[in-house]
């Protein structure tokens, strides 16, 4: 089995969904992003967003939750010659966009797509896997997208 197949290169994988209840939105925002339109319905109605909506960081964190809990990107069967690839840390992300606010009560469906993987000169035995993460609301409109990467130990 090739790494390409294990990583499901080019395949958009469903990670599941997450519902942004008003109380969940406010609890998250009180800890990490207490701007009025994330913690106060009244203030949110008067703001540019027109109603309570989730912190962008909440919509991104929920992608990670679905990514890890579904195991959808990492639990493929492995019958390659070496040891089963082990996922490690990520160096970060780029081009993260919040194209549309996520309002209270909305359910977001998340996906990931593996783009490519390459050897790491600085870390023999490891490869860098590039990914695209996305989230879509109940109308199918995109509410989150980003390009990310993760280190994978393959030897």
């Amino acid at each position: 089995m090739s790494l390409d197949r294990f990583f499901r290169l080019g395949v958009t994988v469903e990670l599941g969904s997450y519902t942004f209840e008003p109380e969940t939105i406010k609890a998250f925002a009180r800890k990490y992003d207490p701007q009025p339109f994330h913690v106060d319905e009244e203030a949110a109605r008067r703001s540019v967003l027109g109603g309570l909506c989730a912190s962008g960081w909440h919509t991104a964190a929920a992608w990670m939750k679905c990514n890890i809990e579904s195991g959808a990107g990492t639990d493929g069967e492995w019958d390659g010659s070496g040891p089963r690839p082990q996922f490690g840390p990520s160096p970060g992300f780029r081009n993260l966009k919040w194209p549309k606010p996520v309002h209270a009560g909305e359910t977001v469906r998340y996906t990931r797509t593996a783009i490519e993987h390459r050897a790491l000169v600085s870390r023999p035995g490891w490869r860098m896997l590039s990914l695209r993460g996305e989230g879509f609301d109940s109308r199918g409109d995109k509410v989150l997208e980003f390009d990310s990467a993760v280190l994978v130990q393959v030897e």
Partner: protein, 164 residues
């Protein structure tokens, strides 16, 4: 709708930071933040339940070298520092995204983080009168002066006149 506008404007008056207060090259201190094991495990349990973010021993055995915060948690801690640093006392209208975020070093339980923001550019919005676009590069460092997070993004801020 006129009532909408009046109410919205009232919420934005008296803020310390409006678009005009940002200038290229300006630097803003975000203060410090102590990272606790409880917070790391709390965030990870909810959003990133991988062993190195949940158990000290698993963290030590990983590339992180200790109980390490999820990178998304580090971003969230930074966001709170940004809010407390100046965003809550500004005419901020939100942001459309993040150009890049680099998780440069692990953030471990017991770390004391410091944040600093540098204004990369400040320009008026062509499509939205009364709104300015401020691009900032933010750096979070640990108690040893090592950068743990670098991030760049653009936020929208009302001008002082639009906020009156």
């Amino acid at each position: 709708m006129i009532t909408f506008k009046i109410e919205q404007d009232r919420a934005m008056t008296g803020k310390r930071w409006a678009f005009e207060d940002f200038a290229e090259g300006q630097s803003l201190d975000l203060g410090t933040k102590m990272v606790t094991a409880d917070e790391i495990v709390g965030f990870a349990s909810e959003f990133d339940p991988q062993p190195m973010h949940l158990k000290e021993a698993a963290g030590r055995a990983s590339l992180l070298g200790g109980l390490g915060a999820s990178g998304w948690h580090t971003c969230c801690m930074f966001m709170r520092m940004l809010c407390d640093g100046f965003l809550l006392d500004s005419t901020s209208q939100g942001s459309f995204g993040i150009d890049y975020a680099k998780w440069k070093k692990p953030v471990l339980a017991g770390d004391m983080l410091s944040g600093r923001v540098t204004v990369v550019s400040a320009r008026s919005s062509k499509s939205r009168p009364g709104v300015g676009l401020v691009t900032i590069r933010s750096e979070v460092t640990n108690q040893r002066g090592e950068q743990v997070l670098e991030l760049q993004n653009t936020g929208m801020f009302l001008t002082r006149e639009a906020a009156q």
